[in-house]
Structures are given as C-alpha cells and as structure tokens.
Symmetry: D2
Subunit: 284 residues, 4 copies
C-alpha cells in the first residue's frame, strides 16, 4: 500500500488536530495512523499522521506545498513529508565485529526491513565475503590517524553516488567528524554499547565490570558532534551477574546491541521518530 | 484540571478523526490526548480523545447528546463519555492474601490513584485492622457453599449503597456468579495468578512448577461468565529457576500480581481501555 | 583450557558434595565451577562440577571408571562425563524461515559457540547459498507425506556419517518421528514459537492474537514423543499491543525465538542442563 | 529448620571446596546449598554454604573456632558464620515518601521477610499512624542542618537499645555521616532512584527526563562514605516513553524502587551477599 507520512512540530495551539485531519479528509485521504504529543513544559505540539495515498486526490508532488499553504503557515509548523516509496537507501558502516551487521543483513534478507542497502563500508576487509553472499556491495576503506580526511571524502563520494538517505554505524569503531555529520543531520544512527548516560566512551563493558552493575545495556542514538550525547532512539538492557567475565559481558551485551539497533532502524524507517532539543519522540 | 474523555467504536470509515476533532474544536476544546486504532480484520475503528473541560463551550450535560446528534449518529458510533470528576468509586474484594490489597492501599495513600475507595469487602476478617488504619471501611461477609446467594445479595446492597462504579478482585478467592457479574459488565477487574491462557484454574503455581516453566506471570482481566477467559487488560512476567520451590514461585508471583493489577486499575481509571469481542484496546 | 564436566543425579544423601570434591582434589583437579541442587520433593540430588584437566592426574579415559568405582557406586549415581574437546558436532535443521539459522551462523562465525556445524539439513533449497557462504555444507532433503520415512532415513545416514552429537530444529516445520527421536534422546533442541504451555500446536501467533494476550513468547525444549511437551530449557517473552497485527506478532516473536534458541544451545553446549522427569535443571 | 550459613573469601587455591565440604560432613552436616565463585582476575575464591544445624554434631558456639582451626587458618580465610535464628533486627529509616516503607511492611506482615523490625525512624511524623497499625514502634527524629550530630546520636542510641543488626534507608532523604556509617559497615542498605552510575545525586528523574532516556531504574546498594558509590546489591529497570512527564517518571520509578529494595533486603537476610572491593557477589 502506498502511504504518505507527515511529521509535524509547532507551538501548541487549539485546533491543530482538527485542521490537519480535515485537510487530509478534504482530499479524500484515509487516515491509517495518527499520533500526537504535547510537551507542556516547552509548549510544543508534535504529530505524526499516515494515510493511504492511492485514493488521495492531491498528487504526490503537490501535497507539501498545499499543506504549507492551507495548514502549515497558519500554525508556524515545521513539517516533513515522507512516502513509503521508493524505498529509502541505507548505508551500513562496520569494522570487525559482525553481530549487528549480520542481524541487519538477516532481517533484510527475510524482508523485515523496507529499505535498500546499496552498500556496506568498512575499515577492515574481513566481512566482505559474507556481505557479498547477501548480494550487497562491500567497500573496504582503511582509516588511520593520517588518512581520516581522505577516507571520509571517499566515503562521502560513495554515499552520494549511491544516493544514500541515512547511515547506520553498526559497531563502526571510528569517530566520524563533525564535518561528516553535517551531511547527515539526524540521519546517522549509532549503537553505543552501554546504557547511556552510564559509561560513555570506548570501553563501557570494562567500566560496567569495574562498577559491578547488575544490568548492562545498549543505546541507539543519532550521532551529533558531541560524542555519545545525541538524541536517544532506543535502549535495551540485560541482566548480568557477579560471575560474568568481561568477555561474557561483551557477548551478553552484543545481543542487546543488535536488538536495540534494529529497533531504532525500524523506527527510523517507519518515520516514527521526531527529534527536538536533543530528545526523541517515538510514535510506536 | 477538569477533563472529558470520549471512547468511541464504530465501523471504519473515512473522516471520523476529522469530524471528531472538528467537533471538539468547534466548541473550543483543547485536545490533550488523541489515540485511534483501526482493526482492519474486523473493519472497526476505535478512538479515545481527552480534552480540557474548563474552556469548553458545551455544558457537561449537553456534550453526549450534541455529540450523538452531530457525529455519533452519522458514523453509527457506540461511545462513552467520562469525566475525571467526581472521582470514580472502587470497591476492593479480598480474602486472606494481602499483597494486592496493601499495594492498592499504599498507592491510594500516596495519591497515585484518582479514585475513592468507599469500602473493602472480605470473606475473612483478618485484614480489617490495617484497612481501617488506612481510613477505609471494611465489611466482613463470610461466604460458603450454602450462603453464596445471600452473601452476594449483601455485597450488592453495599455496592449500591456506596454507589460503587467498579470492583477490583484483589485475590478474592471466590468465584462470583453470572448474576453478580451482570451488574458490573466489564467493570470487575480480577487478577489471575498465571500468564493466561497458560494455567487456568485454581492452582497455577503448582501447575507451573510441574511443567517446569522458566517464566511465570500474572494476568489482570475483566471478569466474564467463563472463568479466567475475560478480556485481558495487562500481563506481566518474572523469571524463575529450577531451584524455586512452590512457595518461592508464589512469592515471586505475588510481586508480579500486584504490579499487574495496579497497572490494570490505572488503565481503567484513566479510561484507556476499550473492549471489543473479548479483547481490549489499551491506549496507554 | 581443557576442561572436564561431570553431571550427576542420585538419591539425596549426606556427604555427596564432600566425596565428589575430595575425589577431584585427590587427583589434583582444580575445580572451576560447582553447582548443586536438591529436589526435596523428589528426594533427588543433582550436581555439576567442572575442573581443569591439564593438571589432573587421571587420564581422560580413566576418569569415568574411577569415579564410578570410588564414588558413583556408593551413591547409586547416574552421571555423565563430558570434555570441552573435541568440539561437539551440531546439525541444524531448517525450513524456509531463516531468522534462527542466521542467528546461529552469525554467532558461530563470531566464535561465540564452541561447536562444529558439519551440516545444515533443509526440506527447502532456499537458504543453501548463504549457508554455504558461511562455509557449511547444506543438504536439501524434501519431505512430504509420502516420503517421510525415507527422508528420515536419509537424514539419519547423514547425521551418522558426520558423527553429529545433537540436533537443533531451527524452525524446522516438520514433526520428527518417535523413531527418529529415539536416536537422539534429549539431544534434539526445538524452538516453539509460543510461551508454552500456552498455545501449543501449529499457529500460536494466530492463537495469541485471538486471545488478545499482552505478552508473547518462545520456548526452547528438548523434543520428546509428545508434541510441544518436552523438558523446557529456556523461555523468553516480549510485550505486544492491541495494534500489532499477526505479521507483526510474528516478527516480534522471531526476535524472541532466536535469542531463546541460542541461549538453549549455549546451555546445552556448556553442559549446564540436567533433565529429570520432564523438567530441566539449568546450572547457569 | 535451623540453618547455619558460612560465607568465605580467601586467595584461590586447590582443595578449598573439598576441605570445606569434608569439614561439614565430618560433623554430620547436611549441606542444603553450596555456591562458589572464583574471581580469576583478582585470584580470589568466594563461597557460601548452608547446612542443617539440627543434626550437626558441633555446638553452635563451637563452629567458628573449629572451622578456623581446621580450615580457615590453612587457607587464610576471612569468613562469617550466620544462623537463621534468632531473627536479625532491621531498622527502617524513612522520610515522607511511603512506597518503599509500605512495601516492606506489607511483606513483613505477610511473613515474607524473616526479620524483626523493632523500629522505624523518620525525620517526619507523617507515617506514624500506619506504621503503628502494623504494630511497629515509630520514632520521629527531626533533622536539620544545625542538629544533624545530635539527631544521629539519638538514632544511634535507639539502634543500640533495640540491638539493630542492619538498617534500610527506604527513601530516607538525608545523607548519613561517615561517622554513622562506621557503626554499620556494609550493613546500611540504601535505594537510589536511578540506574547507577547514571544520574547520581538528588534529582535523577529530572536528569533522566532531560537526557531523554528510554529506560529508568533503581539501585539498591550498601552505603559507603562516597555518595551513591557503594557496592551495588540489586538493580531493576522500567521502560518509559517520550510522553511521560517527570511526575510519571517518579511514579514508574517508585514501583521499580520498592521491588529493587525488597530484593536487596531478601539477599541480605538470606546471607547471599559477599562484598569485595566495592562489588558484591550475590549467590542467588
């Protein structure tokens, strides 16, 4: 089914739901899902509406401008209009750890993810054969302290060439530059291997072990310039015990990481995520 | 804040959200929450809308009839209109096990439940002193095989006298009659001490022990004539291990029971529950 | 590190732990892990002990007979002695659904499973290319109502040829015969796509949808003659809501299935599972 | 059943389990539970053994010295010997928030906690009537910036008078002094209302709201001089969403707090907790 999805944010006022739903109805739209949220502290209104496009009497290309003219302007809305076709294009960045990548490839192969994966980019060549067995091109771009700029330029060229919409860092063990991030604002999803804000930084499982926590976790978030501080999309946890060694924490954690990352990808793909002031609103 | 809450169900058609939200807006209603659900298999539409009443230009008593005339009739809606005042009145039925009752009393005392508790009814006198310490009248009505009818008549009289809106069976170890249930359709909440539909009946922890399950649970549901088969409101689970004896299963389970029951009470109080064909839609 | 693992069950008596640990110490064994469980209702004692083999003064082949002579006989023990080398051999049976298989292959590739996978057997050819990309032989053995006996004979021949120790049914959509099971008692692990004993049978997600449960689950169990009734090794659950369609329940459930199955495989591989009277004792 | 429980820690060596279990057997002890843990990084061995005392041929008062002479000295053990009688005495400190206190009182009333509660101490008088309805003395000791020393002296005198073994801070909103803590080393259990080490300090739910986390938690830990940094006994979490306000986070969190604290109390009472280097080993 061809769907349109509208994500809205604006100062809260009376009549928004009424006007938006009347707009959709007036052009014969069949509303499939509607969610709204009012942040009373900030005085902000957020809304997501999805409707069937086939019977809709506005052409795909007209919708945004008509909506702006009839509704958006009146309420000073920021809005984004998405369609579930053509499928968005997702690049996956990976290093050597395969668990998140394989989880994504498996779901994609099973038809669970409504996305095209035009390429996988890695700073190691290890995972090339299996990625290619799944029918996906693999690009090996080594990264070190001296070539980081050129490596990112090469990555960006590939992303542009394949018209990539968003990027998933599937345990990609490199910090991406602020410059790189500016090309994909709120469109780079990272999986951090801890329950943020606990244990920021490079070795969270070691830190968790040292502190003796009874639960570990993982956090999927949009990448912003400040490391591990971007808007949180999803978090999951798992119970651990005193006898778990660091390698065991890593393994238990990896199961959490892959589930958390895949959920975040799903929310992003379904256009269920709004971001505001470094927080996310997830209409699941 | 004075609020009105509207719960709607009707055959699915275009324009319902639009018409309902326009209705609320046209009388100057500030929508606080709106949720909707379409059951595509049944072709049914469900909606919950909450709005501020203070600025609303219809009088409290006019709303239902106006809504029926302007909207309800057109879409063949079944709808219910609720207000968050005066507080609803909840009776609690209990036997000897105190964990669910104390959990409810504690929450009520802490101001977590927007409800009045005019009475607790029990077939045992044990818990009377503590219930009364919480300032709530306690009625001891013994029940046995020979006096069940008169006991229920006595209960019903008390419930009527105290104008009780709904009943919570907080591990009340008696089966209530079909006749009794008819006085409170979808207004009796029971906590069953298993993850239904596994382990219906009287001794679910024993059955769980026998089967060697690794997880046990509890189910809060509306009471219908068929035992343990009413619409499920909430379920929770807890992990158990081979070394847990039946008394330990009971204790672990009781923690699950009280949390599950309290969640169900909250949903019911917040008018977040719709029932249709023995299932619930919970707009949390 | 080379390890020996001893699994014991016998009638409960005083002195068992003392005698077993003294036996290990007397031959210079360094105990790594020891767990015990007494089932007071059955009057049974269960124990698992793991120790380093390198410094142990008994030869690998002598241990069982010495233990029987010095300890086992005295306490009427049933015991099994395992070593963590050579790696056990695990066959995976699969149909068309790939999620459990891919999860296993991914973990194996990442070195998480101390097991050899000499072959994957399927009644469909679909997954052959990817299995082979992971370097594992794939055998396509079609099964239908008329050839079931010969298909199982062919499977058994392959399992024998590859000296398979145990079998994982990774959503293998065929019922295996009692005759087949007798070749692998408590050595066939199945994943059932429900929280048993709720929803036995072929379409548990449909049944869960019909009943309107708020939590779904998966159960890994050893296969016995009675369908879906074997000893439960592990169970996991996930929360669902009224708006989840059956396909969504299936997807949410598949995530639970793969995690549950992989945990069960780990327990089995680590020799942490004892079975007694259709229940398991899991020393994790 | 009268039980003895032995908690041991010492440098790891061969033969400890063998010697300890032989000791117990030699005096006719029936071992009920035995758990051990080796911290390979620290080279430390930890053990817990529980046995029936009725048939034990050593007198209660002789056990410790005999064990020290026969076993402890040889392995340079630190050990503690506990009995499940007489019941330990637990003091509860509380301020105005009642949820943890009521949970403890409810469990105690239901016979779930093998402990005496000789007194509740509070810096507010609010909860006095209900505590007394449960039959427990309530002491109101106001605390402010100028009287902290004398208040603690008064508290200590009461604790001494009632021969209190350990203290539970059930959302007691005061920081206790280092001097006070020294009277009860690893015998003061606090519930912190966040998933430590995330959100230390006074307003964790506000901080969690600001950061936009998707999961909140609670941490029960022994109190040490460094605030919120003592050994973690138990942690639990709950899922939250973007629409949850801070008061809702508080309520959701309070459910987690009370469950977490009660679990920690249980572990402590069952003598299942060993502490080493600011971490706990929990033999549950």
């Amino acid at each position: 089914m061809n769907k349109a999805i509208l994500l809205i944010q604006c100062p809260d006022q009376k009549g928004i739901v009424s006007d938006v739903s009347r707009f959709l109805y007036s052009y014969n739209g069949n509303i499939l899902e509607v969610d709204q949220h009012v942040d009373e502290e900030m005085g902000m209104f957020f809304m997501r509406a999805a409707w069937e496009l086939d019977s809709f009497s506005l052409k795909k290309d007209e919708i945004a401008s008509r909506f702006e003219a009839e509704i958006g302007k009146k309420f000073q809305m920021e809005f984004k209009l998405h369609f579930n076709f053509p499928k968005p294009k997702m690049a996956v960045f990976v290093s050597k750890l395969s668990h998140c990548l394989f989880d994504i490839l498996g779901r994609h192969h099973a038809g669970q993810l409504e996305v095209d994966i035009p390429l996988v980019i890695s700073n190691h060549a290890d995972l090339k054969p299996i990625v290619e067995a799944f029918g996906i091109p693999f690009f090996y771009i080594p990264v070190n302290t001296s070539n980081k700029d050129t490596a990112e330029a090469e990555q960006l060229a590939l992303l542009k060439e394949h018209r990539v919409d968003f990027i998933v860092l599937a345990r990609y063990m490199q910090v991406v530059s602020a410059e790189f991030i500016r090309h994909f604002p709120n469109r780079i999803i990272n999986i951090h291997h801890s329950f943020l804000p606990a244990f920021v930084g490079a070795r969270p499982y070691h830190a968790a072990y040292e502190r003796g926590v009874k639960i570990i976790g993982a956090t999927a978030h949009y990448v912003t310039e400040e490391l591990d501080a971007g808007p949180i999309i999803e978090q999951e946890v798992a119970r651990v015990r005193h006898h778990n060694t660091i390698p065991e924490l890593v393994q238990i954690g990896q199961d959490v990481e892959k589930v958390t990352l895949s959920k975040a990808i799903k929310y992003h793909l379904d256009r269920k995520v709004l971001t505001f002031k470094n927080k996310t609103i997830i209409f699941y």
